[in-house]
Every structure is written in C-alpha cells, then in structure tokens.
Symmetry: C2
Subunit: 345 residues, 2 copies
C-alpha cells in the first residue's frame, strides 16, 4: 500500500473547462497481485481532445466519469511486477490518466526504448500527435511538390509535424499560430516558409500574402475564425483536413464562436469522420465515366426501369418567367423550353 | 437572312434573378457560309447553374455577357448545312443559348439518334443532369447495399436519377422535395423508399423518421436549411456530395439564407471542388501507416532534421491549470506534466 495522488473530474464544464471542474485527491494503491504490475507515472500528456471527454455530449469516445481520475496518456516506469512480460525498470506507454501510480494487468501497455529518443516523445512527436499529423497529411492530404500546405496551431505537437513533413515532401509550409514568438519559432527553428499570427489585426491579409497561390491543403486544428480566414484562400481541388477545433468549444452553450452551422459541419466531420466533396460533372474523374453512364442509364431507360419527368414551357418568350420560377420550386421535373412545336423529332 | 428571336441578359441580379434581367430581342441571322451550318433550336434547357452565370462573381465558368443571348444547352435541327459532317435534318446537342436559330462551324455539336430516346432527353436524363447524378453518386458516393442515400431536389433531373440509381445499387433512397405532389411522385412513380416534404412544419422530424439508421450519403442539390436538417443525421463515415445550392443565392447580398459560414463552405466546395474530411488517428486507413510513420519520423528525429518543442509543467497538481490554459493558447509546444523529477529515464 502506498499513497497515490489523483486529479479527479468532479464536475462537467459550463462554458469551457475551469479549475473548479477538477480536484486533487489523495488515495492509496495496493501492491500488484498475481500477473499485475505497478506503474509510476513519469509523464502525463494534456491534450485538447480531453475537453470533449469532460462533457456528456456525443463524441467518438465515451465521456470521462465523474469522481474518477481524468483520462490521459502517460509514460510510466514499472516499479514492481508480478507480470511475466514486464520487469522493474521497464519504461512503458500507458493510459492510466491523471494519477501518480497505477496497477495494470499489462493490457494496452507499449514498451518504450529509451535509447531511441527521450521517453516522453512517446506522448508527442513519436506518439499520437505526431502520428496524427503525419498519417493524415500523407494519406488524406497527399501534398504534391510545390503545393501550399497551411496548418493551424502550427507550433503544437500535431501542427509542427505537419509543417515539417509537408516541407520534406516538397510543399510550401505556412503555419498559423498565436503570437510572434510562436511564429518566429516556426520560421526560424522549424523552417516553415511563412508563419502568420492569428492575433494580429491584419491576420487575414497577412495570411493571404503568405499564400500567393492559395492553399492546396489546410490542416485544421482549430476551427472557428481561423478556419473562416483560410477558406477563401483554398485553391481549386484543395483538401481541408479537419483534425480538431480547439479554438471553439463544440459542447459549450450556443452563442460562442463555436456555435453556428459552419462549426456544426466541422464538428460533425470530425466526430463522424465525414467526407464532403464538391464537384462538377465535367471533372475528369467523372467524365471518364460518361460511357458507363450512357450504357447503364440508357439501358435502364430502354427497359423502362428508370423514369423521369419533364416540365415543358412553350416558346422562347416563356423562358425568363420559367427560369425565375425555378428558384421558387415551381417546376416539377426537368425544365425545358419547346421552341418548335411539332418539331420534337 | 431570317428573323431570329433571342432572350438577352440585360442586367445582373440584385437579390436573385427577376424578369427585368431579361429582354426578348429581335435579330436577324445570315445563311450559313462555307463549312457552316444553320441550327433551328428545338429544345432549350433552363438550369439552376445559369443563375451563377448571371453574376460577375467567381464561378467555375465565365459569367454571361450583358446584351447577349443567355447561355444554355439546346437540342437543335440542322436546317441548312455547308458543313461536310452535317446534313439537313440532323438532330444535334448544342449550346447556343436562348435563341431560335444559330450558326455553327460544327465545333461542340453532338449528333443525337432520335431512335434511342426522345431527343430532349439529351438535355436531361441522358444528358448533363443525369450524368451528374449518376457519375458523382457512383464515383464519389460509392453507395453500398443497405446504405441510406438522401437526395434533395429529388424530383428534379439530377435528384430523380440519384435516387433511382441508388436503389438499383441496393441502397435505400430517401428523397427531399417541396410539396406533397412531388413527394408522392418519388415514392409512387420512382420507387423511392421514402420522401419528405421540406415545406412541411415537421420536416426535420419526418426526415429523421425516414432515416432510422442515419444518412450514409447525402447528395445535396440545395444547401441552406435543408442541408442543415440533414447534417445531424449523417452516419459515421458519411459522404456529403455538394452538387448545387439552388435554395440559396451565393452571390446575392449577405443576410439571406445563403449567407453565413456554412454556405460559404458549401459554395467554396462546389466552385473549387474542395474535399473536406474529418478523421481520427485511430481510423484504420491511418493506423495502417503507423509503421511507416515510426520509421520515417523516427529517422528524421535521429538525423536531427525534424524538431519539436515541449512545454513541461512540474507535478500532478499543476495539471488542471495547465490544461485550462491549453484553450487560451498559453502553452508553447507539446504540453506535458512531469510527475517524477529526475526520473525522466
């Protein structure tokens, strides 16, 4: 038995997390039983995603329980083990939350080699944040040489990887961060091509100046007004990757920056992994299917299994009124003007 | 020489198209010269996309010129030809706009076989609208058997193809249309599984009832409040296909239903063919790249070419304040709590 301090979630936030939602609690922890091991927390990461866990709102994981230690990823040292796979002194990645010690049956632990990199990088650049930045940029973003990649929260654990990987793939990296110190870090230390301070009064203009050819990829970690500033700069065929919405609190009462249809869409895209795509039928990947379309739909028309309806108005002079009615839903079926009665072939 | 009536665009809309934007004009047209042919318009289609052409705002095509015939797709009969490839009586698809006759050098004409289907279907189910509905649903939507496909403006030329093709691919088709007559047509004539009247007071509830398992695909032709009603119903991994925004007028002065960040996003997605995607790093397609991530980023860390920054706070008791500061941008780099000073391995 030894003392084990924990930080509990004791209440759910009203309009954003506050100190009062948490309480430092003393508890005791038993020695490991058979096939158990005792972990001493060395490092605990604090992540934006934890905010959503504090609410009972819908998310892609269950909410955190009240009067229990907050959830969180940790790096820990095995201080006592009765588990065959772990011995005292092992360093592991765990997820036992905001507490000093934890008992484990070994499930979900990942052993860390201290020789590779500082062990806490398992919670950062070599862990979930770095992996999130790298995999989504490469898989969903597909940056091409010469393209411009804009990333928000760019000095953070995800954003700093996104920008640096974008450059390694031959793209221009434009970072958005809060304050000049973070912006200087992006350009001077991380080699971003440009950095823009979203707190500066001329933010939108500075961002546009940093993206003379527009933004081919926007890796969005923040949502809100920063998202709205990047949107007008998106280039044709641009890809918007919705990773997070730290700037806005999707579960907070309506009326803050996070409310409204645009944020609803970003939140839905994130939580439900939606894909939204705009297109025009002349896009090459769609035009390639024109013969398939003619063959299949043509066949369904001939066999009578696909039907349609026409709304025909007579005479060129009827076109303006019929066209204006189109936007009042006055037509019922395909709106056509017949100019040569009796000559419908 | 013969008379040729035309409808000209004579002014650009203020808040939506109105009759005054158009004028019926008399003109004359010459007989065809060498390698020319004279076309008699049989059918003219009126399409929602034409509204955007009426403005000077950015679009995926040039705006319509003032005091010229409005642009538009047509089906025409060759009434005189000095062109080697066309003879009098041929039926062709053309795009010579809102006028009774047009001279052509043959470029851009597509000959239509009247034996296949009524020639005006070249402007509808067998033309651009049908092709738009079929190709985008199949290519971008990829409906799976048992999935639910929701389509707006469902009784129109695009929507009616989308719903019927969805059913042929084994999906459930739920149509949204304005008024009971159109809704009955969808279910009774086109075989949609359900139809919902967006004008009904209980629209949102009726739509939810029609989608008990949510919407896997939303093929959006209208935007605006209908889009906002479908969004909460999108299922995990849902696909939103932005085909049109007929319900809102993106170029109209702000303040109408079309203004606001959500519509800005839909308009940008449509005009610039954007793809927006939400994701979580545990998504299978991203987890598959975890080894690639560890190998590449691990290598860049070892060779010093990829850098990161940590914001370390000392002691478990410091976690709540540091966590709350995360949402005020107070951390600079990866936010970590060190619980065991001197034990950072």
């Amino acid at each position: 038995m030894r003392g084990n301090r924990q930080v509990h979630l004791v209440s759910r936030p009203g309009n954003g997390p506050e100190l009062g939602n948490f309480a430092l609690c003393d508890s005791v922890i038993a020695d490991p039983g058979p096939d158990e091991l005792l972990l001493r927390t060395l490092w605990l990461s604090l992540d934006p995603y934890m905010r959503a866990r504090m609410y009972e709102g819908r998310n892609y994981t269950a909410p955190a329980a009240l009067d229990q230690p907050m959830q969180g990823s940790t790096v820990a040292r095995v201080v006592a083990s009765r588990h065959p796979d772990f011995t005292e002194g092992d360093i592991v990645e765990s997820a036992h939350g905001w507490q000093e010690y934890a008992l484990s049956d070994g499930s979900g632990l990942r052993r860390i080699d201290p020789a590779l990199a500082p062990v806490q990088t398992a919670l950062g650049v070599l862990g979930m944040p770095g992996q999130t930045g790298y995999t989504a940029l490469v898989h969903h973003g597909r940056p091409q040489p010469g393209e411009t990649v804009v990333v928000s929260a760019a000095s953070g654990a995800v954003g700093s990887v996104v920008g640096q990987v974008a450059r390694k793939m031959g793209a221009r990296a434009v970072g958005i961060a809060g304050g000049m110190a973070k912006c200087r870090y992006l350009t001077d230390d991380l080699g971003f091509d440009a950095a823009v301070d979203h707190r500066a009064p001329d933010f939108a203009a500075a961002l546009a100046a940093a993206c003379p050819d527009g933004a081919d990829i926007y890796y969005d970690n923040v949502g809100g007004r920063v998202f709205r500033a990047v949107l007008p700069l998106m280039a044709d065929r641009g890809r918007i990757l919705v990773c997070g919405t730290i700037s806005v609190d999707r579960d907070a009462p309506a009326g803050n920056d996070g409310s409204g249809p645009a944020q609803d869409l970003l939140n839905a895209a994130l939580v439900r992994r939606l894909a939204l795509r705009g297109f025009v039928y002349t896009d090459p990947e769609l035009m390639e299917r024109a013969p398939e379309f003619r063959a299949r739909v043509g066949g369904w028309i001939r066999d009578g299994s696909l039907r349609w309806r026409e709304h025909v108005v007579e005479g060129l002079e009827a076109a303006p009124e019929a066209f204006c009615g189109l936007f009042r839903g006055e037509n019922f079926g395909r709106l056509l003007v017949r100019l040569a009665p009796g000559e419908t072939a």
